[in-house]
Subunit: 362 residues, 2 copies
Amino acid sequence: MQETMHTLQVELGDRAYPIYIGPDLLDQPELLLQHVRGTQVLVVTNETVAPLYLDRILATLSAYEVASVLLPDGEEHKNLTVLNRIFDELLSNSHTRSTTLVALGGGVVGDMCGFAAACYQRGVNFVQIPTTLLAQVDSSVGGKTGVNHALGKNMIGAFHQPMAVIIDTKTLQSLPSREFAAGMAEVIKYGLISDPEFYYWLQTNIDGLLARDEALLAEAIERSCLNKARVVAADEREGGVRAILNLGHTFGHAIETAMGYGHYLHGEAVAIGMVLAVRVSVGMGWLASGEVDRLRVLLSRIGLPVDSPENMTVEQYLTLMAVDKKVIDGELRLVLLDRIGSAVVTAEVPRDLLVATLSGTS
Amino acid sequence: MQETMHTLQVELGDRAYPIYIGPDLLDQPELLLQHVRGTQVLVVTNETVAPLYLDRILATLSAYEVASVLLPDGEEHKNLTVLNRIFDELLSNSHTRSTTLVALGGGVVGDMCGFAAACYQRGVNFVQIPTTLLAQVDSSVGGKTGVNHALGKNMIGAFHQPMAVIIDTKTLQSLPSREFAAGMAEVIKYGLISDPEFYYWLQTNIDGLLARDEALLAEAIERSCLNKARVVAADEREGGVRAILNLGHTFGHAIETAMGYGHYLHGEAVAIGMVLAVRVSVGMGWLASGEVDRLRVLLSRIGLPVDSPENMTVEQYLTLMAVDKKVIDGELRLVLLDRIGSAVVTAEVPRDLLVATLSGTS
């Protein structure tokens, strides 16, 4: 099976790291072991993922002083209080600065484990083993880690790069379809913002992807990671171009916060947000109006929501978007498309257009 | 008064910053204003310091969108729960990534404000205005920020450099004598680890310093910051030589954790720890036995404790020291002196010697 593995190097100078993509990588212990430093390992996972894969990972690490911690599953638990359980486990096992953390699970596990690694003793090593499509194409590239605050998503965090990312595509076979769909929203995002050919490829191959064809999935993941890695390498600390990765996220974060974490999955909120962003782009005269429907059809085919929550007001959107990380000195900046496969960050959207789009009258 | 101000540049490449030292610097608004970015400022202070200086700082910042948050005073409040109050304030005031945080207070305020600045939206700017001797000579150089965990001190944190540090020596006139003494422990540390001339100067000038002579204080602070800045510039991320700044701290942290935060001040625990470190150094044959008494006399003159807490066992020391950040793969490393003014980090201390020293039989 070795020959079907692809390795993608994320180029970040002395923080460069490899992403391994392929089937059955969890059964190749050396992939993980070569990146473990020191003698102690803490595996951070959750209640849903642990029964599926934890035993295999612990067996791989049997030569080490290994502990594990199971977090509750779900975005609503991504907060400082639950984060502290990771520190409890590290300290009660006397883990030192040379420990290695392993994130085994989806985006929430990866974000929290990565943030704990960034903060524990002011920084220790960690390896990502993402087991959801969303985490594989999103959290595994870029080094963004963190937790939510009651007043805003991902507001507390750090940039902290992993030593390696191990993506076993077999883990997607057991992923619930709602989670799978949420991950596909981010896959589609990469096409929209920087890879028009990939966007058309996704439209062509959507049935095979939904049937979870392994080869198609591996290709979609690799292409997503490549697109993200290219953007991140150009802007590790999010000073500029990296913001385009947030297509649909300004709207999406507002939706998630307004509805309460756990109501929509992150990818579902991003799907709605991308439709809004494309709609605003059409309103700016940058895209043909047919692009809205084309995107809605693709997202709907995957089973993703495409309309704003009925009970969410324009006022709620505007208030929650005011704390977006892209706001500079009170000025809201949105990621829009100036053509399919090309994103721009702009503060030029007329308020009327924004309000009309959010209220559904445009 | 401008002519009595000294400026010391901490050389850290693109994270270099100035430390201003002198009397009445809080009355020179431009010192702070030149380092504020954006239009929003959050002043983080505590209940004790706010009545003394907050109004002056708020007046200085009157042209900005400014908010303030008062933390409870004391090391026992330096935790994730209280840290979250800073995030509450930032988010409820819609502070963006271009906000500036100002730490007005002692080491606890500086550590927490700095950590909040490191984590808020994955990193915003901050300025330190330390108002205790300890914070002025310790927290203002080096970029260490963080909070405590119930199982270990400073176990959760980040390296995050301030834009500037403003040290108004007048703030020391109102400092309670116990706090002043705790700060002097760290001042003495710099002499012991890297500046023998300074150590002798402190012994000669201790009466004037205890009488809080402004010129002597400014000299002691500048010399302390210079010594620390030299060590930090050589090792920003604490890979090596920087560990010597922890003379007495491995013992001290164990004492603080064992006795509960708030029982001893940090500097008091460090004073006891330095006596233990010097004692072990004598046991190694590296220092003349007279150095133990010489240090005890100086510390006692200042009003600092010099003996281990009576109810603290050797077992407690060893357990708590096992999570020290200098432990590598289970091996305890101690900062000792191979002569006055020269520190080394060593894993070579025989366990018998350590146990004998901790049990008071050596």
